[in-house]
Amino acid sequence: MSRQFTLAVALALAGSVVQAEVVAPQEVAYGEYRAIETSLSGAPGDPEAGAEVMTTRGLGNCVACHAVGALDEVPFHGEVGPPLDGVADRWTEPDLRGIVANAKMTFPGSIMPAFYKTTGFIRPGDGFTGKAAEEPLEPLLTAQQIEDVVAYLMTLRDE
């Protein structure tokens, strides 16, 4: 991760100041198998916040395409992608980080959107307004939200 740049983000957390190293979308190093080894935010993820991101329309909205048994209190899970039950048995944490950040690396041509990507779009829009937007865009999810989602996915085990 030599090209990783560090950003000192001062977070007021419970009265104390925490330093976190955020990897910007353009600087992410995908490994040989498209995995991302370390946290994009420099901090661990919160699985509960991750579940929220996955079920919220304006955020990950992952359940639009994927069914997740453990989230069945949320209505209407889609069937465009495979169910995510037991996904942590199939993939490692770095694999999952790579898939959520940019699934097109792992699955070329995938319909799954890249959640941590800011450039290289055709007619990028300003959110859902239908109006044009200048690149780089804000990524669909922040580094911390990616970590939260990955932390949640790591709880999805069959065994």
Partner: protein, 269 residues
């Protein structure tokens, strides 16, 4: 994603007959130009039983109110002049068959024209009145009327000859992955029809049923407004209704429905 190889369960038994009289073909063999789809389905096939039923009887179909409005408008003088549509076209029924072949190459203009463009040509150049708003209520109701008199006839737009270049352009747009979500029409309506995307049952995105009366917004909706909504939902900069891009896309999408019946005004959710 799992491409929909099996038709919807309801596709086998359901049959759309309007007013016990007009038989609507809602599934048909795919036209030859389609490489990845074997069978085509009207969006009607993917709607709930209750929504489907609304389209079986013109007294239940809320879109028919717009058709009635347009019938009155057909005889109403355009602009300040004396002329109405009826001055030149005896009755709406005289335009039977027109919907089925539009968008269509216009020799005089040297371009592919949608029905809306053709109506506006009559309004402005023939009757000397101000153009109607492309997706406005007056235009949409008139298009609904012109569709209604062709219901049951097979969609049959020409894609060869002078229209071919526009058709190719539309095809390219159909397969381009727009916006921050990088989604093409084909990702949802070719690769994933019959799958649920959150609460929505994806159809093939056919336009044989337009204008559609949508229960969601309680009005007749135009083809280009629907395109606009779908492109916007990819977090992309949309094209405008009436733009050359949407005209080309309309020709292409219409051609993917060649063989289905004209069904507009249809009812959708």
């Amino acid at each position: 994603g799992s491409a929909a190889l099996a038709p919807v369960a309801t596709a086998q038994e359901a049959n759309l007959v309007i007013n016990d009289e007009i038989e609507i073909v809602t599934k048909a063999p795919a036209p030859e130009h389609m490489d990845y789809v074997r069978e085509i389905f009207s969006g009607w096939e993917y709607r709930s039983r209750e929504t489907q039923d609304l389209q079986m009887d013109d007294f239940e179909n809320p879109g028919m109110i717009g058709v009635d409005n347009a019938r009155a408008d057909f005889d109403t003088a355009l602009g300040d002049g004396e002329e109405s549509c009826a001055s030149c076209h005896e009755s709406p029924e005289a335009l039977e068959g027109v919907r089925a072949v539009y968008p269509k190459w216009d020799e005089a203009k040297g371009e592919v024209q949608t029905l809306e463009m053709q109506v506006n040509e009559c309004v402005t150049e023939r009757a000397g009145a101000e153009p109607w708003d492309y997706t406005g209520q007056r235009m949409t109701e008139m298009v609904a009327l012109i569709s209604s008199v062709s219901r049951g006839m097979p969609v049959d737009v020409a894609i060869d000859g002078p229209a071919e270049e526009t058709w190719e352009q539309g095809k390219e747009i159909y397969y381009t992955r727009y916006g921050q979500l990088e989604l093409a029409c084909a990702n949802c309506h070719e690769d994933n029809y019959d799958n649920m995307i959150r609460a929505d049952h994806l159809s093939q995105g056919q336009i044989n049923g337009f204008p559609t009366y949508r229960l969601k917004n309680g009005k007749l909706n135009t083809v280009h407004d629907r395109f606009k909504g779908c492109v916007r939902d990819t977090r992309a900069e949309t094209f405008s209704p009436g733009s050359p891009e949407f005209v080309a896309l309309e020709l292409y999408v219409a051609s993917r429905g060649n063989g289905l019946s004209v069904e507009g005004p249809s009812v959708r959710n």
